[in-house]
Symmetry: C2
Subunit: 156 residues, 2 copies
């Protein structure tokens, strides 16, 4: 359901949220998110364009969140690289459907509304600080141990 790009954007944002206020090297980001470097560069560019991350690309480059993880919800991340919006008028431009929509697009709109309602209530912080689920996104056992000791990403 979620596109590859959306999945990758969520991984990248989760990775940066794990290391707040630190510039995470692009190599480390690629390694932890398991996203091919070229693809990741495009995703990071979109996230930067939307104002969610700041930093610089290329060798020696790195990124960090531009705002607090608690202030970014999942709908915002998804919309930075894709589209999770209500359907406001007939996508075929049919006058008699207008903004009331036919049963097909009304159903698709209802599905979008359901998803938006759920995901706008989940912040990036919720994903990395869930007390009910101590597993952290992207982190194997070794990374979890490093995080709890130093909180610093490996240099790359």
């Amino acid at each position: 359901m979620f596109s590859q790009t959306t999945e990758y954007a969520l991984r990248a944002m989760a990775c940066l949220a794990l290391y707040p206020d630190q510039l995470v090297a692009t190599g480390t980001l690629a390694q932890m998110t398991k996203v091919p470097s070229n693809y990741l560069a495009k995703v990071l560019q979109q996230l930067g364009g939307a104002g969610f991350i700041e930093g610089r690309r290329g060798v020696g480059g790195g990124y960090k969140l531009a705002r607090s993880a608690g202030d970014i919800n999942l709908v915002q991340i998804i919309n930075a690289v894709g589209r999770l919006k209500r359907i406001e008028s007939c996508p075929l431009g049919l006058e008699n459907h207008g903004t009331r929509l036919c049963p097909l697009h009304r159903t698709m709109d209802r599905a979008s509304a359901l998803l938006i309602d759920m995901l706008k209530d989940v912040s990036l912080q919720d994903l990395i600080g869930d007390s009910q689920n101590p597993t952290k996104p992207l982190c194997d056992r070794q990374t979890m141990a490093t995080l709890s000791v130093r909180g610093a990403p490996a240099k790359n």
Copy 2:
């Protein structure tokens, strides 16, 4: 949220459902769904491969539903051309996440579950025979009038 291909597949299926047991010409399908012919041909091939439609492509070709519109739900159509499935194990293959998933993928799985639950209860028939919403998918006023008189698609 839904991909272009998913949107087009739903339109094509709705169009065929409007004319049950009739071979709808590919030109008519393209015209009513407003989908570019080449793109539509690929979508129809996928829908045929999944066993939802039958017919033949090319000049003089046409398609019809291979089963009753009441027996096809929207999750099935979406999965014929894309992917709307639960997340059953860590997409990154991390052992410590396994099938329990981290908070990121558990949230994405919860979103998928919500959508599947909603859309599996909507059949193709529900979209074209909704008594609460007499507007038919893809149909402008003129097509609605033709449908109510003859039920036959224009030849093309």
